[in-house]
Symmetry: C2
Subunit: 213 residues, 2 copies
Amino acid sequence: MVLQGYFRSSAAWRVRIALNLKGLGFATVARHLRKREQAAPDYVAKNPQGLVPALEVPGQGVLTQSLAIIEWLEETKPLPPLLPADPWGRARVRSLAQIVACDIHPIQNLRVLAYLKHELGQEQPAIDAFARHWIEAGLAALEARLAREAETGRFCHGDAPGLADLCLVPQLGNARRFGVELSPYPTVLRIEAACAALPAFQDATPDRQPDAE
Amino acid sequence: MVLQGYFRSSAAWRVRIALNLKGLGFATVARHLRKREQAAPDYVAKNPQGLVPALEVPGQGVLTQSLAIIEWLEETKPLPPLLPADPWGRARVRSLAQIVACDIHPIQNLRVLAYLKHELGQEQPAIDAFARHWIEAGLAALEARLAREAETGRFCHGDAPGLADLCLVPQLGNARRFGVELSPYPTVLRIEAACAALPAFQDATPDRQPDAE
């Protein structure tokens, strides 16, 4: 399989962790977002949305949208599982993942920040504050839930890493880039540390990717 | 079951369609977003994120995040299905749904537009243009895929309505509110018309909800 991505894209980073946790080898093709390589005709032919990541599966085609890709990995290579077995637990994990994937990351994504700069004439401090605002709102909700819900274990759900963890960790990478103060989120940080001890997470970090700057 | 929502929330609208398609009865509790009722302590106790929708399931608890709620409905009441049976088709439908649920709706959501107005001092025309920009980018990607992919049928995937359709239709409601010109998206409009013929979609429109203004 070939992952079309970008070292710093947190959506591509999620998929890298999932592939690593599943023990699936993959090649990487880098699409440099600041150089707009994701808008190149050969890439838009694969993914009309012009966003990373996309996963090319030999003999089948191209999958897009990180959560859809990861659910496909889960359905086609179920072990080790990234979702619990019971529907209620699965809904819990998906909802935690979607706090990141729907309500934090898309709002603080590069293309939105570029719009604030170029179309709305905002200065960098205001742009960074915008990104921090949505990251902090989402992390506060995640901390509240993870701290109080009984299903939280060593990881977001129990004692094995899964879909919520692989969304959370890249989002924390973005949080640090924008200077978010993370001490209000101790449960989140504890889970991040548990993830950071695992090779599947270590090998997926941006600095270890071939296109890292 | 009780759906905590808001008549105009496109995420709550998605869940209403899903419940209707599954033939599941539900009561509605309205949380008026412009009055910030979703930030009321009794609601934040149910959903620390302070966003709608939330689905209260008697004897079990509260589910949040519209796509997680709908996947739970699919797993606990599989018929009629909202996702195809094959993993590749499921990934396709989820990716179409996530174009809306991750990459359009959260960016043009009320709370983001309120930030542009109050924190960044933007005037209404610039705010509306911001909303249209992200809606148009997403609809262009959806149109490109739906028009060229062989799996598209009477609905987004084949000839029965599903997860992608129930995300698409409410997003078109938002598109019209912001004045998006929809003629560049003929396949999208054709599918919307097919959905509009179904009672499950008709009964879920904002104007038919008890809190409609």
